[in-house]
Every structure is written in C-alpha cells, then in structure tokens.
C-alpha cells in the first residue's frame, strides 16, 4: 500500500508546483504569519521575545491556507475524470487518500521551512531559544497534518472546488477554535475530571500544550489519532460514493 501511496504522493506533490496558486499561497502564508506576529502585539518591546506569537497563530493561519491548498485535490480528479481512472486501478482508496494527504502535508512543511527565514533574520539581533523554536516548528507541522487530513475529508464530499473550500474552511476554523471547556462545566460534580477529558479533545489545548515547550505523548497521540481518523474517513467517503 505504501508504494501506491508514494506514487500518488509524488504525482500530487508535483501537481501543486505545476500551478502558480502554490506560490500565491506560499506568499499569503508568510504574509499572514508574519503580519499576525507583529500586529496587535508589543513585539519590539518584549524583553522575552521568542516567536511565541508566531507559533500561537499557526493553527489560525493554516485554517485559512490549508482549505485553499486542498480544495482542488479531489475536485479536479472529478473534473478531469481521473478519479474514474484511479478508482479502476489496483490500489486501495486509502493509499490514494494517503498520497493526497502526504502531498498536502509536505507542502505545509515547505511553507514552514520558507518561514524559517524570519527566524534566521531575527536571530541576528536577538538571543533566541533555538531549540524551543525548532520544536515549535515540528509541533506546527504536526498540527498542520491534522488540518490537512480534516480539509481533505471535507473536500471529499464535493466535486466542485468552491464547495470543497467553503466546507474545509468552516470545519478547520471550528476545530482550531472549538473550546471544549464548557462541556466540563456541564458535569459540575466531577468538573476537574470532565474538564481534563474535554480538554484532551481540544485541538487548541493540545497545540498550546505542544508549543509550551514540553514534548507531551498525549498531545502527539491526539494529533496522530485524529489525523489517521480523518484520512481513514476520507477513504470511507470515497468508498461510500461507489454505492
């Protein structure tokens, strides 16, 4: 299955760079990421400057960029009738989806690498905690994987890219901004435990946990399991459409 997934990954990764949109998205990503880092913050006067704001905003930035990145991923396969061709090949739906997911995730990696110039530039003037920053980059990439998988899942429902974009944008915003703390409040008797359980399902809480500097196994598990679930569900949606 991995060979098939890699074949699809290679095709999709090249496809992203065949379009000029990728360069536009890359520029947009850098612009929004850097803009949000400076905007509304006391960036220059902060004595403990460490790119905290940059990483804190990454889920929001990816929630905008990733739907635009993945909206054509499945819609174009419908438009060009290539989905019929792919589905007639001896590969599993999961391998096909996995290839698409890996390609989108790799593009997120490229975007994060491109943003590193910002880090290198600042490191000339400021004494930065480079290990922490590197870890935050890894954390942001891991979190972007979950959003890529969710966005592909939303896109798999539509044969039209604008519908795919609209639903992907909505669900990515929902996931990144959903505060599940209120669920804990419903169980006043066991509120501490309930809060902990509700928090463990919250994307924002898990991401904050990751960029707080600690390598948390539960957070890694959260992102790995949600990503795997979304990828699997995308395969299931495509499979369901056969019926």
């Amino acid at each position: 299955m991995m060979y098939d997934a890699l074949t699809c990954f290679y095709k999709d990764f090249k496809f992203y760079f065949a379009s000029r949109i990728i360069y536009l998205l890359l520029a947009l990503y850098i612009l929004i990421s850097v803009g949000l880092t400076f905007w509304g913050t006391d960036f220059y006067n902060d004595s403990t400057i460490n790119l905290q704001q940059f990483f804190a905003n990454q889920p929001l930035v990816f929630a905008i960029i990733i739907p635009a990145l993945t909206m054509r991923s499945i819609a174009d396969e419908y438009r060009d009738h290539t989905l019929e061709i792919i589905m007639a090949q001896p590969i599993s739906r999961l391998a096909f989806v996995l290839g698409k997911f890996m390609a989108a995730w790799a593009i997120c990696g490229v975007m994060l690498i491109a943003s590193m110039s910002f880090w290198f530039l600042l490191s000339f003037w400021l004494a930065l905690d480079n290990f922490w920053i590197l870890w935050c980059y890894v954390a942001a990439w891991i979190a972007s994987g979950t959003l890529c998988a969710l966005s592909l899942l939303a896109a798999s429902f539509f044969a039209h890219m604008l519908s795919a974009f609209a639903l992907s944008l909505a669900v990515c915003f929902l996931l990144t901004n959903l505060n599940l703390g209120w669920i804990g409040g419903l169980f006043t008797q066991h509120s501490l435990l309930a809060l902990k359980i509700a928090g463990s399902f919250s994307f924002a809480a898990q991401y904050d946990n990751m960029i707080s500097g600690q390598i948390s196994l539960s957070s890694l598990m959260y992102f790995a399991s949600t990503t795997a679930a979304f990828v699997w569900l995308t395969g299931a949606v495509l499979d369901y459409k056969r019926r």
Binding site: C8, K11, F15, H81, T82, M87, A88, P90, R242, R243
Partner: protein, 237 residues
C-alpha cells in the same frame, strides 16, 4: 474471462440497470449500444469497480470485484468519454504514472511505451503537457495510458468521439489489431465504428440488456440490413 452475473444498480431511487448478465471472452471487440440514459456508462463504471452493484457480482479472471477488487481490477483498464488524463503532466509523465500505479516493471514499461508510442504515433508529443494536446492526441494518450500495463480487458467509452476521419480509421485499425490479445468493450453512438470493429453487440435499453448477438445475428433478428436500422427497430420495438 469477465463475467457479469445478474447485476442491478440503483442511483438514488432510480433503477439504472436491471438484471444484467453477460460474459466477455479473452479477445474480440464487443460494442455496447443503447440510447442516451440506457445505463451504458453506469455499466462500464461497475465493470471497473468505480461503482458497486446493489445486487449481483462481476468476476474478472476468477476474482470477484466485490470480494477482491484490487486483484480483479488489475486485469482491467478504462478510458472515459472525456478527460481521463492529468492536464498538468507531460505525456511521458502520465504514461509513467499509469505504469507505476499498475506496478509495471521498468523493462515492461520501456517495451510497452515504445510499442504504443509507435502504434499511436505519440513520439512527437511525449514531452508535451497533456493540457496542450488536441482532442485526437488526448484520446490516444488516454488509450496508451490504459494499455501501458497490457490489460486483459479494455473498456472504452466513446473512443472515436471528436476524432477526424483519418484518426478514426487509424484508431479502429489499432483497436482491431489489439483485440487479438485483449478483450475490448466499447460504448459508442457511432454506428460506423460498430460496423467496422464489433465482433459482438450488447444492446441496452432502459437499463435492460435486450440483445446479445453477433452483428449478422442482430441484423437477422431485426430483419434489417444495417446495424443502425436494427438498433432503431429493436430499441423502439
């Protein structure tokens, strides 16, 4: 052998195909005919595993499409009515991708590529992007992509649609030659293609297989001189 056993397909509440059964041997050209909306494309999509039948099964080379889709479809190739190629790829990249996805070895790929490029006259467009190809070249590239793995069954939806006379004649000759080593199922509205190529005809009407016969048999059955007249007589009658 490709066997279709009593398949039924519903799309929503509408019954698209009703109790379809037939089989294809390992060579020859079978034409799938029927008026618009008869269920031809749905039937072809079922044969490639794109759709799942609601009842019945399709057995390809001994493998059930329902129980063992991956092994079953490894013997089948399909070319849809339009598109079916990646516009952003070059012709060579597309053919390589199709070979990779079917696990064709490098040696087989090189041999098949040389054969198909010369038979379908693709040498001159090999490095060209698919989106820049003319309709005739697009069809030929899509067919080359389907044949790059030497499938046992080739399913073509309107293969000659939009081609000029010379291209049609060449493609018919190519398919006829290829049909000695693989079974070809074509869906078409062009009766000239059927007269020129078909060894057998499957006639679909309102989701039902109303005739499965050789061209001569079909004409005698309808008591007409041409396939076109026989088609109208059987579909309307």
């Amino acid at each position: 052998m490709l066997e279709v056993k009593g398949i039924r397909k519903y799309l929503g509440d509408r019954e698209i195909l009703r109790d379809i059964s037939f089989s294809l041997s390992d060579n020859g050209i079978t034409a799938l005919l029927g008026p618009n909306g008869a269920g031809k494309t749905t039937l072809m999509r079922l044969l490639i595993g794109f759709y799942e039948p609601d009842f019945g099964d399709i057995i390809i080379n001994g493998y059930s499409l329902d129980a063992n889709r991956i092994k079953a479809v490894s013997h089948v190739a399909y070319v849809p009515e339009s598109g079916g190629i990646y516009p952003e790829m070059t012709v060579f990249e597309y053919l390589k991708f199709m070979a990779d996805i079917k696990h064709v070895t490098q040696a087989d790929f090189a041999a098949n590529l040389a054969d198909l490029a010369s038979s379908l006259e693709l040498h001159q467009v090999m490095e060209q992007k698919c989106e820049t190809l003319s309709k005739g070249f697009s069809r030929r590239v899509a067919i080359a992509g389907a044949l790059i793995s030497n499938p046992k069954f080739l399913i073509l939806d309107e293969p000659c649609e939009g081609l000029d006379v010379k291209q049609k004649v060449n493609l018919r000759a190519f398919l006829k030659k290829r049909s000695r080593s693989c079974a070809i199922l074509i869906s078409t509205h062009i009766m000239e293609d059927v007269e020129a190529m078909a060894d057998r005809i499957l006639l679909l009407s309102s989701g039902q297989l109303i005739c499965d016969a050789e061209p001569q048999e079909l004409k005698s059955k309808a008591n007409k001189l041409s396939i076109e007249a026989s088609f109208f007589s059987l579909v309307q009658g």
